[in-house]
Amino acid sequence: MEAHEEKPIIYTMENKPIVTCAGDQSLFTSLYTSLAQQLPKEPMEWRRSYGRAPKMIHLEANFVQFKEELLPKDGNKALLTFPFLHIYWTDCCDTEVYKASVKEDMQRWQNILRLHSSVDWLIVVVESDAKKKNKTNILPRTSIVDKIRNDFCNKQSDRCVVLSDPLKESSRSQESWSSFLTKLRTLLLMSFTKNLGRFEDDMRTLREKRTEPGWSFCDYFMVQEELAFVFEMLQQFEDALVQYDELDALFTQYVLNFGAGDGANWLGSFCAPVRSWNGLLLRRPIDMEKRELIQRGEASLLDLRSYLFSRQCTLLIFLQRPWEVTLRALELLHNCVQELRLLEVSVVPGALDCWVFLSCLEVLHRIEGCCDRSQLEANCSHTVGLWTYATEKLKSLGYLCGLVAENGPTSEDLNRTVDLLAGLGTERPETVNSMQSPYKKLKEALSSVEAFEKHYLELSHAAVEMYRAIGRMRSARLVGKSLAEFYMRKGDPERAEGFLEESLRLYVAEGWSLQVTHTRKQMAECQKLLRQTDDYLQTSALLAGDANLNQEERTHFCQEILSFASQPPGPSDQTVALSMAAFAQLRQLQFSPPGAVVHVGAALQLELRVRCLMPVAVHVGQLAATLHFSLEQGGARGRAGSSQRRPGQGPQGQGDGVVLFPQGSPLSGAGCSLTPALELYEMQDRSPSDSSLNSAGVVCKNVHLLLRRHDSNASLDTPTAGVLPAAVAVDDGAQMLRARDVTLQPGDNSILFTAPTGEPGSYTLRQLCGSVGRVQFVQSHIYPVVQYEVYSQEPQLTIEPLSDNLLAGIPQRVKFTIATGHYSIKKGDALQLSNTDSMPILHSSRCSATILSSTGGQLPSPHEHMGERALSIQSSEKVTSISLPPTPPYHTLEFQLEVLCHIPPAPLKLDSERLTNGEVRHRSKSRSHADSAMIHIDQKVSIDCPWSIYSTLISLTFYVPFKAKHTLLSAGRRKYIQVCLQNVSDSNFHLADPVLVERQPTTTVELLSLNAKRQQLVCSQQSLFCLWEMRWAKDLPPCLQCEFSASFVPISALDPPAAFKTYRYEFQLDRVSTLYSVKAEICPASGDKHCRTGTLCGLEVSITRQAEPSETEGEEEESTEIEGLKTTKLMYEVVDNSSNWAVCGKSSGVVSMPVAPSATHRVQMEVMPLFAGHLPFPNIKVFKYLPHSAAQVIQPDTDSCLENDNLSLLDKGLDDQGDTASIRSRGSVHSVGSGEQQREQQRGLPMPRLEPFSPGQVFNWTQGRQVLVLPATDDHVMEVNVT
């Protein structure tokens, strides 16, 4: 048998269905070889009852000589030995012979069959030509067959077949063979169907009787197994397996029923105590020993299960399903253990372990026997369960027999071992020669501690390797951990450590806290043995803070640390640095003041909330946080600096100086930290100049956490034992927050730190370190980033007006603000203001300063009032000195002073005629001033500050509240001066005593005031007009220099009425006297009383010289001497801007005025009124006409508008020459056609120029006159013009 072990086909049943042969034995013998060969060659379809699928089947048969004993007797249900077909062979071809003997023989044969009610028979008649030739007097060959058929096969003619010349190679012979074989197969199958059907029916009947008291499972087992055997014999392994599975299920059901209280009698035999536990035996096709036990009803549960499984295993291997064997094996082993428990079968402790161990190995060996290595490796997942199970069982055996204990087995253990070995019995003959049999392994393993260790490690490592190979890392770690436990038991912590570490890492990474705690406890034990002090303390710290442990255990581990910490350090010992995370968790940090921005030297406190995880109060000698100092942003920052990032703002976005530290859930710290939440911040970028928003965005602060690789981080940020924070070296030189002698109670603690603010810059908390004796708990980085800023500020002086605008001429209050910054104002420090005449400082006695302390950093609101101090102000000729009260640094000193800015007397760089022209620098301060711009005066103040060697130059802008305008008015020769004073400020004034005087008083001119009231109210944006008449005795001076002055006082509801101040306005009047008067008369057309629209009227313009031009005027006015007569050329122009009139014919011309008083020049023109009504006269303009020779003279005050007029005149193309000629000849204005002038002539000629008269030089009598115009009589259309 041993030799066959490697070839599975050997296990095929030797049995074949039995076919008996009667008749001519020698004939059969000659045919047997070919028959046995041919029969299985072709498959035959087997149709089956009960709806079972038809199958193709290759038939084989075991041909035996017919004996009466072969026929089954009544009641014998054995199927294996059942003859399925009986064949009678004959080659008789002689009727005589047939009649003489053969028939009789057949008859006897038939009788026997009939006696046993067997209907499956066949008669074969073999014919051969050779035999036929010997006998001449033979009947036709059919006759014998016919006879036989006639005699035996009534109605069953197919029961007799003819085989012709079977030993010849002729086609006829083959044909007859094939038909014979078909017949044979058909009959065989018919017999199977019939007999098996009958058998199954009987079997079912038997099964239905199972509730009857005498029923025995074992008997039934034998019956159904018979069926299974037949199927196996027919190579129908599937069907055979079904039979065993049915038996299996039936038995299982009985056991379960038994468990439910419904016990069957026959189960009693299976409840017998287990005496033998020699495991499965899978190396035989049929374990006859066990089968016999079952047959005798003496089998134990294990025997039955073992036998059943061995049969199933055999069939499964026939079916090429080895992996199902392993699955079923595991199931079977678990099931058996359960069933024994359920049936309350008494078992020697360890016996089942032995049985399971042996069985596992047996199954594995069996599988190895039928698969090659690659197949085995590819299917580790199927076998690994068995390996692990065997490992577990061996381990528990080892513990049971004292093989794991450090000092070896005791005598009790040895006794137990002997008992267990006894139950194994002797080794089975199949494996006696095999070196690696499970039996030998177990015996060896139990024999000695060393052997056990060898086998156990071998198995464990194999299991670990397999789990690794198929990627079941968790299972591998679990086996590894039990290995570690084994090593620990053996006192070998070095080898245990690796396994524990691997497992611990996995559990931590996946966040299984109970496992973590359990493994860590083992780790602590291991590290303690290994004297890895640091690691042990770290693990202890973690365990002391582990909520899964009870208080007692936690206290134990905490004491371990504390007792180590309190030991005096040896010479070589250094402090031990442990991770803070195990010791305490940071909860929150609060800044006070909350802005976390303070000036140098200010007090800044940090309150740190820490949750101490230790079970008992721990006294911490020093708790220190190292600070990283950087200069960036710091010192140079002003107090109002716009810091976009508020350090006090934690991820939770609180602005009250609280930083919350993210809390990992204590239960599944690692699990949750695998995916940290996004931490988003709002970011605003403001431009530094006007703090307008440039851009806004969202920033993810913890990108580095989110985007890093996951596999590598698990060990980094989860503080497993043995992994210590790298940067634990504490730099003593660095600045740090320090708290000494803190006792941390279990739970939340609050610790107050005073932050160093010695130097400006930003301080970032980096490391937190708590020292307990020799032990330091270190948190290498604090996240989120906590930082505060210390700034230093230069002292600063600002002066700003109290009101919107400072007005010149009135005392105004200005506010002095001194931000002391880092400078402390000492007694005797003073501000030195250099005096200017235009802006005296009015100091009163009741001057006091306010000192404010700024506590809130950059926010101006939280100022704290510190009190008022008197200011003493001394004024000397040049300097006003303000002595400041002593003020500490980073405070604000405020006081107010009154200043007055004198209004400069002269109109500031103003041309008298053109006040609103763009020459004057002015600003429109507000919208209300847009139309009437205020004149402003920039006043510079130079101040010497005690903190600086340089003077501070501060500019104040004052606005002149008034604007004056003057006008010269004429009435004939009489002259008036009008001054308009406009209040352009926002306040109201009283005005009094407007006075107009000549600056250089001449006796000739007298100014007569026409103003009535003494005092008048001028509201904001209102004007006051004053009028003076000029009287003169002799001649008017060509130039008159005047000064207007008025007293004003602001009207204020609050302040008492102040003294009047004077506003002065100087101006100069030139060319005052009237030179010419222009009169015009409109005469209606002849015969008409009134002018009518549409009819031409005469316009007579008369220009009269009023006075001789004075010396200066004469210079200006070009006069020409013509024939002894001094004349002046004037140009007139009639324009009607309102288009009331149409000027017909020429509208302009040049006249020469004789230089004589009352010289008059008349001009006639024609105009046509266009509308009816009282129409104003058309405008008549008179200009000085300067011929070309005088044009070269550059007038200093040439008006640009006149030049334009000049050009437009040019366009009209006045012919100078012709014009003068006409004047000379006719003495009247001669029209020069504009069309006839030629530009060619003009070019190169000097241009004549026009120049206007000063206002007042020409008096127009028609100014304001109107003439009545009647509508045309024949107008059918009435035009009404309403204006």
Binding site: E331, L333, H334, I470, R474, Y507, E510, G511, S668, G671
Partner: protein, 139 residues
């Protein structure tokens, strides 16, 4: 009924795990954790193509001598594991399935709670009560 019921997050950390209090809790934690090996194996064995109409019930993950471990995985890869005593033979596959279905429904209710933060351990009393009803009542 069950002796241990566990809900395990996609990342394989326990969201909820409860066992019969009289028994060794740690052992169940180990058992459930180890069963994740098989769960992962089964999930990957199904393949990605079939992921849509995949059966959520994974069946028996692995038997041990004392316990049977059954698995179930939701579409969001949250795993349910139920451990049943091997001696408890009255439980059939269908009953296990219905237990998982109930568990899944209750778990869905927990997830629908706006105050529940996905990924946190399950504290819901309703869920706890439902699990208790499925557990062996420890005497």
């Amino acid at each position: 009924m069950a002796v241990c019921i566990a809900v395990i997050a996609k990342e394989n950390y326990p969201l909820y795990i409860r066992s019969v209090p009289t028994q060794n809790e740690l052992k169940f934690h180990y058992t459930v954790h180890t069963s994740l090996d098989v769960v992962e194996e089964k999930i990957s064995a199904v393949g990605k193509a079939m992921a849509d109409q995949r059966e959520l019930y994974l069946g028996l993950l692995y038997p041990t001598e004392d316990y049977k471990v059954y698995g179930y995985v939701t579409n969001s890869k949250v795993k349910f594991v139920i451990v049943v005593d091997s001696s408890n033979t009255s439980l059939r596959d269908n009953e296990i399935r219905s237990m998982f279905r109930k568990l899944h429904n209750s778990f869905t209710d927990v997830m629908c709670n706006p105050f529940y933060n996905p990924g946190d351990t399950i504290q819901s009393k309703a869920f706890d009560g439902m699990v208790s009803a499925m557990m062996v009542q420890a005497s």
